[in-house]
Symmetry: C2
Subunit: 154 residues, 2 copies
């Protein structure tokens, strides 16, 4: 289980994983060595999965996001599995969610430009029969939090 101090440590590390233990310790009122042990425990227990570099999408030539809503042709287990494999194979498809309601799936696709969507669309429909309900291009990212609301966790 997690106490409030563990949550505070996680909150620091999800914003900057390179924060020196001395600073982490100062912020949660703990010694650096104690922080080191806590973090090691949080890793082993799976609360921290790994550390990653956050890359500027626009700067590396991937400024465009397209959201695609899809409904299944059939709801058979075979179709579902084939769909799962299709989206797994296409790296531009970064996230796929199965939703409640009339729309079955939501896909987030990351691309160099809107022109590339056609390529990804064709790659998708070549692998699996599906009804693309709608494709919406992201005009503006109004908010992008990148850190979990840990203070509001259960």
């Amino acid at each position: 289980m997690l106490n409030s101090r563990d949550l505070a440590i996680l909150d620091i590390l999800q914003r900057d994983s390179e924060t020196p233990l001395a600073e982490v310790g100062a912020r949660v009122h703990l010694s650096p060595s104690a922080c080191s042990r806590r973090i090691a425990h949080l890793r082993e227990a799976g609360y921290i999965k790994r550390n990653v570099a956050v890359i500027d999408r626009a700067k590396v030539g991937l400024p465009t996001t397209v959201f695609v809503t899809v409904s299944a042709r059939t709801h058979s287990a075979a179709w579902t599995e084939q769909f799962r494999q299709a989206v797994a194979q296409i790296p531009e498809v970064m996230e796929v969610y199965r939703l409640t309601g009339s729309i079955d799936y939501l896909l987030r696709i990351v691309l160099p430009s809107v022109d590339d969507y056609d390529r990804v669309y064709k790659a998708l429909v070549a692998r699996i029969e599906m009804n693309v309900v709608c494709a919406s291009i992201v005009m503006e990212t109004v908010k992008s939090a990148e850190s979990l609301p840990l203070h509001h966790a259960g």
Copy 2:
């Protein structure tokens, strides 16, 4: 500008920012010290924004995701700015995108449970008048890439 070696380094670091320089060097056929210089440059130039810990959402008590589609009451600059501030103030609202098409905005909301959605919904409508078109609960995360398709970048 970025060459293919820089992209390879970014690809390694976006998967695991703790990869030792010796291993990064081995994978891109470069000495550790040369890697160190490249990475420092990638940071200064803003390609790498920062390093963060990836936290297991379910384990910290935030397993639920809700996607909400919103259309604007009016399209005035004042409404837009007020909407921007409203979503900025609510930490559970992690991402907000302005989209093409009839739906104006897409919100990704992260919560302890579906029951908490009512609380966030009320917090939103208390701050800004808007038409919530639809709220869909994520039943299953079919794919979650967490790393950019750098090999397909422009």
